[in-house]
């Protein structure tokens, strides 16, 4: 009991003595947690968005002429050698015509003068519903374009590619901000604790002389790092949560953002981010102690 009273009093003393830089560190830790969590949140939401968009993804291979049943089998075989697919559907000219007519509805009569086979036959290839196939869709379409008798391959080319590069970019940003988080937490915490230690050389020297154990001297500094981690990461995550809800409220109603269901981290992910930050901060204080508190 007395041990913790003494240790906590010591922590309080440290904090009071260097509160300026302590505050700076806290701010930095919170900010880097916020930045990292912000990008990570966008990233995870993009991934689930990609999943949903992938549901509607279909590659349409337009063919020169109607394939016979034998050729159909061959084509299926060739397509599946590239990758497993969800489904392959053959659309004949006639089917395409009917579908088009159906889409036109009342204006169907504009088709009256057209021959029934003015639309080319096609194959609809539906890739597996996962992000990997989304990323590969470009390669896949290039492959399909080389199949014999192919006129052209169509898919939501533009957006799929953009989306793909966007998620790629995001993952890099997430990595970078993650690195930033690691560096700032470890180094800032290490730095402030070093400041405290250097500012109190005399006292630490005396403590050793009057018989303070390693634990007595070190635990307050470890706790200081721990505290920075707990406070900093909690503030960071809470700030992001508040921001998230504010944006959701602001932009609710009809609008682009409303097309997709954005969601915050699950409690487990939030706790993991907090946990890792705490660990990093403690690591920071531990590393300084190892350098500057040799006993």
């Amino acid at each position: 009991m007395s041990f913790w009273v003494t240790v906590i009093r010591q922590v309080g003393r440290n904090l009071r003595q260097t509160w300026g830089s302590q505050l700076m560190t806290l701010l930095t830790v919170s900010l880097s947690v916020l930045i990292f969590a912000f990008f990570y949140l966008i990233y995870t939401n993009m991934l689930s968005l990609g999943d949903k968009l992938g549901d509607d993804l279909t590659l349409i291979v337009y063919l020169e002429e109607e394939p016979g049943p034998e050729l159909q089998q061959q084509l299926i075989k060739k397509i599946t050698t590239f990758d497993e697919v969800e489904d392959i559907r053959f659309i004949s000219s006639a089917m395409a015509y009917e579908r088009f007519a159906g889409q036109l509805g009342q204006n169907e009569d504009v088709l009256d003068d057209m021959p029934k086979d003015f639309l080319p036959p096609s194959i609809e290839v539906i890739p597996l519903k996962n992000l990997r196939s989304l990323n590969q869709v470009k390669l896949f379409s290039a492959y399909l374009a080389k199949l014999p008798g192919t006129l052209k391959v169509q898919y939501g080319q533009e957006w799929v590619e953009r989306f793909y590069y966007f998620t790629k970019l995001l993952s890099i940003v997430v990595l970078l901000s993650g690195t930033l988080l690691i560096l700032t937490t470890i180094f800032m915490v290490a730095y402030t604790i070093r400041l405290t230690i250097l500012g109190r050389q005399d006292e630490l020297e005396l403590l050793k002389l009057v018989g303070a154990t390693n634990n007595y001297i070190r635990i307050p500094f470890l706790l200081e790092g721990l505290l920075q981690g707990i406070l900093g990461s909690t503030i960071g995550i809470t700030a992001l949560y508040t921001l998230f809800h504010w944006i959701k409220l602001r932009f609710s109603g009809p609008g682009l953002l409303n097309l997709f269901e954005f969601s915050f981290f699950s409690p487990i992910v939030s706790m993991s981010i907090i946990g890792v930050s705490i660990l990093l901060c403690t690591l920071g204080s531990y590393s300084t102690m190892h350098k500057f508190l040799r006993i």
Partner: protein, 235 residues
């Protein structure tokens, strides 16, 4: 007064042929051998620069000896490390010649440090601090930061910190250098009291008023060598 402590049943400090060299070539101590019994009061005297402080530094393991062996209650202290060394130091109270007070802390906080490191209860610490301050005429300085104290006051705070944790051995370096006769008397009374309750005490001084009439052993150092050991029963 000088009772059976002169026939040592147990030795507190055992020094055998201890030398201390400060680089490059300052011989602070040369072949000093002493044996101080548990519960003894022991004076070290000598001119300025004779090596008194150095000797105390060696005993309290602030400095390692260049040569020789030092044992405290049978432990070769310069082989102790970490937890064991810390525990031993908790049992040794040292009043440093240069005080080593924390200038920005109050008198009470400075004295409390030596008890805090062995995790004494805050209530016990408070009581002990008040007690000691009263005995050293410093009651009104309880909350004064130590850099605002006079040297004589600082000296007494240092002494209070040294004995606060009721150590088994107390090393005092020049405890009365800045004190008037009456205060000197008070300080010596306090040290005697500690000695009576069993603590081994080593006092380094050149204030002959405190050792002139003593019946305890006195060692005189000259240029780092033992010049003479006088006093005590049968020494």
């Amino acid at each position: 007064m000088n009772n059976n402590t002169a026939e040592p049943s147990e030795t507190m400090i055992e020094m055998i042929k201890v030398s201390k060299l400060y680089p490059p070539d300052v011989v602070a101590l040369k072949d000093v051998s002493i044996s101080v019994a548990v519960g003894e009061m022991f004076f070290i005297i000598g001119m300025s620069g004779a090596g008194k402080t150095t000797l105390l530094k060696l005993i309290s393991s602030m400095e390692p000896p260049t040569k020789g062996l030092i044992e405290i209650s049978g432990n070769p202290i310069h082989q102790l490390k970490g937890f064991k060394l810390a525990r031993l130091r908790q049992k040794i109270g040292v009043a440093y010649q240069d005080f080593k007070l924390l200038a920005d802390r109050t008198t009470a906080e400075n004295i409390a440090i030596s008890m805090e490191v062995s995790y004494k209860k805050p209530s016990i610490i408070r009581k002990r601090v008040k007690d000691l301050l009263a005995q050293l005429n410093l009651t009104d300085k309880h909350n004064t930061i130590t850099c605002e104290l006079s040297r004589g006051e600082q000296q007494r705070v240092t002494l209070a910190r040294a004995i606060a944790n009721s150590p088994t051995m107390i090393l005092v370096d020049e405890p009365t250098g800045n004190l008037d006769a009456t205060t000197t008397e008070k300080v010596m009374q306090l040290l005697t009291k500690c000695n009576k309750s069993g603590a081994t005490i080593v006092i380094a001084t050149h204030d002959d008023s405190i050792y002139r009439h003593t019946s305890h052993r006195i060692m005189e150092l000259r240029e780092g060598r033992t010049h003479a050991i006088v006093g005590g029963n049968g020494t």
